[in-house]
Structures are given as C-alpha cells and as structure tokens.
C-alpha cells in the first residue's frame, strides 16, 4: 500500500503534459500520457492511470500524439535465448504473412528495431527488441520500459509481488501470459563422450561439485569440466531451481559460464570431458544425454516428450503482457503466435511448438513395460487389463495436464494446453469421436486414494476444457473420464521431478 501511494504521488508531481476534454466540454482530465494505441489514450491522472477512448475527447498539450500518422510501437525485452533468433524469425514471418516489408535497424549489440512497412511505404509498426535476460525483461515490464517481457521461466514470488505493487496486476494470470513455444534444459556432452545417460541426482551433484570425475559416472578417469549459462539468465536460474534445489544443492564455484546457449553447446562439443546444461533448441554439435531414473526409466528430450511435458525439465518460453490494451498490430502479432505459420517457424528453429499431435498408444511399448514393472502389491492384474483395454485402438494427444503435489490445480503450460484443446474441439477436429481424459497419479500414498485423486484431476480437466470450448458444439464430441491411479508410471517416484511427471491427465482419442 505504501508503494502504491508513493507511485500515485510521484505521478501527480510529474508534468501535466496532456489535457483531454470531452467534445461537449463537460469533462476535462489533466495528466501525463502513458501511451496511445491508435484508439485509446492511457494517461496517469491524480485518480490513477485511466484509459480513455480517443473518439470522445480532444487532446491538448505538448504530450498529445499525432492521430493521423499513428505508428504502433511495441517494446519487447527479455531472454536472449528468445530474442536472438526465434523472435526475429517470428517477426519476419508475421510481416511476410501480411505483405509487409521488414527492416531491421541494429541500434546496439543486443537491441534492434524492426519496422513493418506497408506496400504504400507507410510504417505499420515498429517492434523494439532488447535481448538481456528474463530478470531484466520482467523488471522492464514492471517499470513500463517494455510492453512485453520475454521469459524463459515464470516470475518468482518476489517479481510477482513487485508486479502487484507496481499496479501491474497478477503476472500468474493466464490472460497476462502466452506460451510462445517449448524448450527444455538438457545435459550436453561432446559427441565422443562414452556416458550414455545420467540421473537427475547425479546431474545435480556434478554441478554442485560433489562429483568431479567422469569415473564416478562410468566414464574415463578424467576431471569433469562443467558449463552453465550466466548467473543472470533465466536459464541458469531455472537450472538452479529445478536441477539442484530439489537435492538441496547449489551450483559450485568455478563453473564456466556462457552468455548464449549456442556458445555453451559449442564449448561442450569441443571438449570430450565437458558437460553442460544447455537448451534442447540449441544443442549445436554436442550430444544430448537422456535422464535416467534410479528405477531405470529413461527420459529423452524429444518433440513428443516436450509437448506432453513427459520430459521433466521442459521449459516453456513465456510472454508477459501489460495490463493495458495493446495496439491493434500488437494484438494481431500475439494472435499470430497461435498460427500454423508461427508453429513452423518455431519448429524450424529447433524449438517445439504446441500444435496438437496424436501418437498411437499401441506404439508406446516402453510405457506398457513400465506398467508391468510397476504392477505388484497395489496394482492388480485386472487393473492392468482394464487400462490396456481402454488404450487399445486409441491415440494419445500431445496435450497433457499436470498438477502441483496433492492438488487439482493446473500448471501454466497445462492451462495453455486447455485452451489449445478447446480451440481444436470448437473447430470440429474431433467431431464424432470420443476424448477420454485419463487420470494418473504418482505412487506416493495409498493406491485407492491415488485412484480417487486421479479421477478428480481428470474430471477437473474435462470441466476446464468444456468451459473453454464454449464456442463449440459439445454434442458432436464425447468427453469421458477414466482413472488409472499409479498404474502407468512414466518416471521414477523417488524424485520430486519424477512424481510431477507421473501426476497427469492424458487425453486419448478414440
């Protein structure tokens, strides 16, 4: 509250650079202009920030924008992993799809402005793209130096609190974020490295400095050279939070740090005794190591395993939007991210898009093998037969929904997946078919309780999809719920990451 008051008084002291008067002269507002999107003024007034339709008022004062020659300007800032290749490629294709010519002006080593030029030579918009870090992007969004933050991780509680204090709303809200595409944290080694797979725990201990020789991982007697991204990057923060913190470990001193995932991959590829945690999208000439659970399950980063979040270190790329209205061109650009053209660009650049794919369940023999291994005291033969009967002839759709420990609350990527699936249902993609929401749990606790939890989660997803698909005809598709509890594990239950992978609702298409 104190921060809010301070902000208001701070703005009140600022220059009163615009005056908006209604056409009948009955209302007049003074303030400083925050922005103009071609349709609406947004001004800071003694009453706080207000959004006012430009059609209803006349603007006077030095801060008034040029209504005739309005050019949409949008400032993007954030993770270099997004700004260096993916974002320019998306802007290029967006421009191409609208027959705009694209001009890129390099303002600084990490800053460019992209101008979208109409066929008549007029400028439709300018996109300023600054590549710094997720930290800096989110800070710029809160400080209003950027309109959209590009992030490789979700805001931490401190950033979320700062957003509320800065009158920037709730960053965790679905409406405030978009998922651009998917990436993942992957262990990288040189192509000739003999080690075949690593457990999450061993990986954590290597980067904490507890394992320092390849011999301890089944390799040659040689010291391990470790590589990570710069401490300030969202990538390195994600590694610390998701790889090391679950084992109460912190990164050791003496790690070789990199400013780009490409540089990290290149360095690792050239050193047979190096290991790094890089990005799925930028493995360069290095080799990805799959993760191995202590109970034996292998998890490799693949487009399918990332889309379904079956790979435990999947890392979606986020856009965080301002609470205010975006200019028309900005809204079109955001809508473009959901297009097939954008999906193709995302795939071409090595990332994984969110397009829904279907895999025959029968082709997933390794999953059935897992189920047989897991069967025993708590999973009876008839449970397995029930599940295999339900799977036969069905396909698994890529959207998979995941939950916090012991909850029926969906994570951010799963909320985006609800929307994607709902759009597909509205389009009629599954007319005449049956969608089975198949609930699974981890193996912690009693099997009967897990079965009930799995059913509750499956029902929660079904209701969320129905609510989101309000524009479609739900009589044309059957939406059913099934629960199998802990019967089909995909990862070992001895780590938090493994349990998170197992707590899920899959969608089967019949």
């Amino acid at each position: 509250m104190a921060a809010l008051l301070f902000l208001i008084s701070g703005f009140a002291a600022a220059a009163q650079d615009v005056s908006l008067r209604s056409h009948d002269g009955s209302v007049e507002l003074d303030g400083s202009l925050i922005g103009f999107d071609g349709e609406f003024y947004r001004i800071e007034t003694i009453y706080g920030p207000l959004t006012i339709n430009a059609e209803g008022v006349t603007c006077r004062g030095p801060g008034c924008p040029d209504l005739e020659n309005f050019v949409a300007e949008i400032r993007f800032a954030g993770a270099v992993a997004i700004t260096e290749q993916l974002f320019p490629a998306l802007i290029e294709r967006f421009a191409g799809s609208r027959n705009y010519t694209l001009r890129r002006e390099i303002l600084d080593a990490n800053r460019s402005v992209f101008s979208l030029i109409r066929a008549d030579g007029g400028v439709a918009g300018r996109f300023y793209v600054t590549g710094t870090s997720t930290d800096a992007g989110l800070a710029a969004l809160l400080g209003r130096e950027a309109d959209i933050a590009l992030a490789t991780r979700q805001p931490d509680p401190v950033e979320a609190a700062a957003a509320r204090a800065a009158d920037q709303g709730e960053l965790s809200m679905v409406a405030r974020s978009r998922i651009l595409g998917l990436d993942a944290l992957v262990p990288l080694v040189a192509p000739g490295n003999p080690v075949g797979a690593l457990s999450l725990e061993d990986l954590a201990r290597v980067f904490a400095g507890e394992i320092t020789n390849w011999q301890d991982l089944g390799g040659p007697d040689a010291p391990i050279a470790v590589h990570l991204m710069d401490v300030a990057t969202g990538h390195a923060q994600d590694v610390a939070a998701r790889v090391l913190a679950p084992f109460d470990l912190v990164p050791m001193a003496g790690i070789t740090r990199h400013s780009s995932t490409a540089g990290l991959a290149d360095a690792v590829a050239q050193d047979p005794f190096a290991i790094g945690i890089g990005s799925y999208s930028e493995t360069g000439n290095a080799r990805m190591l799959p993760l191995q659970g202590s109970c034996g399950y292998l998890q490799a980063a693949t487009p399918d395993s990332l889309k379904a979040e079956d790979y435990p270190l999947t890392a979606p790329m986020f856009l965080y939007l301002p609470v205010r209205r975006m200019p028309q061109l900005g809204r079109e650009f955001l809508a473009f991210f959901g297009s097939q053209e954008a999906d193709r660009v995302i795939r071409r650049l090595g990332f994984v898009n969110q397009a829904i794919t279907a895999l025959p369940l029968g082709a997933q023999g390794d999953r059935l093998a897992n189920a047989v291994v897991a069967a025993g005291d708590e999973i009876a033969l008839e449970d397995l037969q029930h599940m295999i009967g339900a799977m036969s002839g069905a396909e698994r759709l890529s959207p998979t929904f995941r939950f916090g420990d012991g909850t029926t609350e969906l994570d951010a990527y799963s909320l985006a997946a609800v929307a994607r699936l709902a759009r597909a249902i509205e389009r009629g993609a599954y007319d005449g078919r049956e969608l089975v929401f198949a609930g699974f749990s981890d193996g912690q606790g009693r099997a009967d309780a897990n079965l009930r939890l799995a059913r509750g989660r499956a029902e929660a997803v079904r209701l969320a999809v129905i609510a989101a698909a309000s524009g479609g005809d739900l009589n044309r598709v059957r939406l059913r719920v099934s629960a199998f509890g802990e019967a089909l594990p995909m990862a070992c239950d001895d780590t938090a990451a493994g349990r998170a992978v197992n707590r899920r609702v899959e969608v089967w298409l019949r």
């Binding site: 290749q85 490629a89 001009r103 303002l107 080593a109 030029i117 360069g284």
Partner: protein, 347 residues
Amino acid sequence: MLMTRKAAIALSLGLGIVGAAALYGQSNGFSLRGGSAAEPAAAPAIAAAPETPDLTPASTAMRFTAADAAASPAEAALVLPSDAPAMQPLAIPGAALPQRLAQADPAQPVMTDQPLSPFGLPCGLTVTTEAQPAAMVALDIMDPCQPNARVVVEHSGLNLTGQTDAMGILTMDIPAFESPAFFTVRMPDGATASALAGLPDIANYARVGVQWQEDRALELHAMEFGATYGEPGHIWRDNRGSIARAEDGEGGFMTYLGSATVENPMLAEIYTFPRDTLDSDGTVRLSIEAPVTAANCGQDTLARTLETDTDGNVAVIELTFTVPDCDAIGEYLLLQNLLQDLRVAAN
C-alpha cells in the same frame, strides 16, 4: 592460414539519418517483382527498348531530401540504393517502366530495324538463363550497344551489379533462391529484360545470403559442424568450398557475386548448403563480419539478408547498422544471429 579475430565490437548507437539518405540518394524505388509472376510467358526473355532515357538512375534523381524524409526520417534512411531494389515503391516515376514491360512483345525479343554495334551486332538487350547443378542459374546478358556498362540484376530481393565487356556481354552464375527463378536485368539507358529459370533441385539446398553496397566489405562466414576459424569447415571468401563438395554431401560452398568496378556497386555473398545429403549431422553457424577500415569506419551501412526455408519462402530483411568508429580500424565487426543457424540431420 589461421586467423585470429578480436572480440566482437559493440555497435555504436544511432544512425545518421540524413547522411544515409544522401548517400543512397539515387533511387528509382520501383520494383517489378510484384508483376513478375503474371508474365511467365515472357521466358526466356523479354526486352524493352530504351525509349525513355530520362529514366536512367542518374537523371531520375528520386532523391530523398530532408523534406521527403520528414514524416518518418528513420524509414527514409533505410531505403536501399540502387536502381530498383526497394521492395515497396516509395517513389514510382510514373510507373512507366512496368507498363512498357507489359507491352513488350515476347515473341519478338530482338528488334529487326535496330542500329548495329561496332561489332556488327544488332543493338538491344537480351537475357537468357540456363539451370546449372546445385540450383545455380547461368545468366547470359547481351546488349551489344552498351559495352562496359553497369548492369543491375534482381532476383528474389537480391540486387547485384555487373559490368558488360567490350562486346556488351556479361555472364553470371547466380545461386537461385526460388524456383522458378525470376531475373530482371536493368541497363543504364533504362532498358530492362526479364527471364525465368526452373530449378528442379532447389529444395535440396538451403541458401543464405548477405547483400551490401559500396565499400562496406561485408563477409559471410559459415562454420560447419563446429569448425573454427581457418579449419577446412570454415567456409568463407578465402575458402569457398565447391559445388562438388555440396553435391557429395560434404559441406557447403560460398559464392561471391557482383562487380565492384562499377559505380554504386551492389555485391553479395551467398552460402549454399545441401539440406540432407550429408553424412554428419549438427549445426552450421553463420555470421556476418566486416573489417573496420578507413573507408567504412563510423559509416551507416545498409545491407540485406536473404534466407530460404523448407517451405520455399525467401525471408528478406533490410538491415541497417553503423560500423564502429575509426579508432577501431584493423578490428573486425562481428554480427551474430542475423542469420539463422542451419540445422542438419544426417541421412
């Protein structure tokens, strides 16, 4: 030769807008690219006689003065030079030339009652194309009455200058970015001709290019599968690779295009890489570099990048940046991430 390079030089902020506009002041600013697809019957050549000599670049003088640029000066500065490379007609001189092209009779590419050149050949521009291996096009240009003349060749957003010889002949081998590949040739007297070539193997090759003007001396560098400077997999101007290398699936090759001996030259380097005939998999990293010289230091620079994708699109981005100040002479400007790395899967 093993090269050492200093660290990338941070680009300085700010572009001298008026300077750039003045530098590239001569711009006809029209383009035939839009209309090209509607005239496939024009192949192999259509020629337009130079009936309106006032359209020559020098005399047309579509200058971007400060007044022109006032509405949006940043854009004016971005206009590429040239005789017509701008992809949107910022200024169309009466749209006269496209009309003349459309009226040209493709059945009679050679005018019969024309004057003859000193070598006895009839005057007039002819352009023919022939598909070559690795999706290259052999472009043969002949205008016997315009010897030693500056020629502008346009293809898919690529603009190049060449020079005819004493006989008025110019041949160029150009890596195509699209199929059918459409070429437009412009002569200094205003004559233009266009030609098409079909490249059945174009989908087998990825192509990236950078085009620049004058003395900026940009270099395109490809680091194949983790190669570093000076290694065999470092493909650039001094180690260009070969078409055979690409056909064998070993790696890519570099093509240097354009004549720098004409006025206001437009040059390009294009890297061609086989998409899936290789034994190795991995990444080819691409960068644009430029030595900082007394000629280019501190200068605003206009360039253009071109990239093909697997959908057959050509991504063309006009690029502006400032070469570092003159106290950096002798160092290299390194521009990374302007071109997308090529990701390759082995067969």
